[in-house]
Amino acid sequence: MPEKTDEKYRNVSLRIPSNARYLKIVRSVLEAVGRMFDFQEHTIQAVLLATNEACANIINHAYKDEPNHFIYLDIYPSSERIQIELRDNGIKVAPEKIKPRELGDVRPGGLGIHLMRSLMDEVIFDQNYKPGNKLILIKKRSEKNDKHS
């Protein structure tokens, strides 16, 4: 994901412990960045929820609920889109395991990947990243109402 030079210095980075209580902080930061760069409220909510789900998966699966690890987030807002990169040092996900459940199969859980894909324009698991995992979420600015920054 190459960044334009002038966009490099818009990047906000956050590191939180792999503990669900910190999800609220991730949401606060994304909300502040989204408002700052004039994204639509609806776009901000989508980014908040998708990133929340991505962090939850890192906590539950990559770090197996162990709280003594860290999640790394890089937030890149721009005039066209907002991009969030999430990195962890946990167990590497096998690409074939990352699949949402069939929606007809009603059971608790198995919704995170589906929500991320429904909410974002792009959801990319970077298979070359090591150690651990790197996930890239991209949401375009909706043309109708979002003002440019």
């Binding site: 669900a20 609220k24 908040l48 929820l49 929606l103 009603v106 059971r107 919704l111």
Partner: protein
């Protein structure tokens, strides 16, 4: 540690209303689950979950609701969800669960429709 979720339980002879207030996420949903499961174990005939004060819900909150629904269906009880805020409604719709649950406007609406006394 301040929780972002407050839970109020109003239990009557025939039904119970669990009102959630705040944010339901991976951190707070176990607190909700801990209140919900014992009520299904006690086989309460009707359980109402009021979400009208829920500003945020992630998939762990939805998962807890699905679990509750399935436990209640086993003993043929009623499980009603009321007061979907726009954020929560969208999560339900994206999860294609809006047709799985019995969703109502409000607790008062349930009473008017004589689903609860």
């Amino acid at each position: 540690m301040t929780s972002t979720l407050e839970i109020e339980i109003n239990r009557n002879q025939n039904y119970v209303v669990i009102s959630l207030c705040g944010e339901v996420d991976l951190y707070s949903s176990p607190k909700f689950r801990k209140q919900l499961i014992p009520l299904t174990q006690a086989k309460l005939p009707t359980i109402v979950i009021d979400l009208s004060k829920v500003s945020y819900m992630d998939s762990s909150g939805v998962a807890t609701l699905v679990e509750g629904l399935q436990l209640i269906e086993k003993y043929k009880g009623n499980f009603y969800i009321t007061g979907l805020t726009p954020m929560v409604r969208e999560v339900f719709e994206l999860s294609r669960l809006d047709s799985v649950f019995s969703i109502h406007e409000s607790v008062e609406q349930l009473q008017r429709n004589q689903l609860i006394p």
